[in-house]
Amino acid sequence: MKLLYRVLPYPSLSLILWFAWMLLSGFTAGHAVLGAILAVLLPLGTRPFWPNVPRIRNLPKLLGFVVVVVYDIVVANVSVAIKVLGPLRSIRPGFVELPLELEDDFAIALLASTISLTPGTVSADVSLDRKTLLVHALDVDDVAALVAEIKQRYEQPLKEIFEC
């Protein structure tokens, strides 16, 4: 197992790389081999560049999380589109401070990205002490509700996925 970790320090990354290679080059035996070689070599080569990446502990949860996010993106997109095209006087933007429970940098970044990807919210800043995330919302009625929703829909699953 130790040897395996030495060869594959980040198995999930290797998997993504391998899969990406196959996507690009086609699903043939030759490329499977070549992709595998790259999937091993690239993480090894770039290893010094990322210390302390948390491991994915809960794969099913991750898949569920992805589905939720994609769904949110589609739905929120439509609603935001309507707001953008509608009368601008009705929108009520706001800066919202989100207290962070996540402690891992990677997880925080992922959360920030997710918030930005879903239309209507952009993560504007992370406090230097990494305890608070500043989110700009395009149209927010109830700040507390928004915070709660983000925490429940995105932060919680991430916490579970990385167990931190």
């Binding site: 953008v84 601008l88 933007p93 800066f95 920030a112 990205s113 239309p119 504007a124």
Partner: protein, 110 residues
């Protein structure tokens, strides 16, 4: 079947185009930088997404086999676009750009 695929492709392409436009309308129309920042998200997600789906379908149909490499574009965009938005928001807050009237909360000064 061909018709269905063609229809789907057409629909996806149009959806992509529409959302790209909507995003840009937002960019052009919204009153302050922070609200305008939300525009490109549309282009990033459903805009490009729509065209990607169309492309996936189209080429898979043309070449009679699953063609998924366009997915990578989405993957990369999903990784990179939030970072640009984040950095731009930081830049705007640093410059203390004006907020539209009625904005709640305060931008940070870090």
């Amino acid at each position: 079947m061909d018709f269905l695929i063609e229809w789907l492709v057409s629909a996806s392409v149009i959806v992509g185009g529409v959302f790209a436009l909507v995003g840009s309308i937002g960019l052009a129309r919204l009153p302050d930088f922070y609200t305008r920042l939300h525009g490109p998200t549309k282009a990033t997600t459903l805009g490009v997404g729509g065209t990607i789906v169309a492309s996936l379908l189209f080429f898979s149909w043309q070449e009679r086999g699953l063609q998924l490499h366009e997915v990578l574009i989405t993957l990369f965009l999903f990784i990179t676009a939030p970072v640009s938005a984040h950095m731009l928001a930081k830049a705007a807050m640093h410059r203390q750009l004006k907020r539209m009237k009625g904005t709640r909360g305060e931008p940070w000064k870090q």
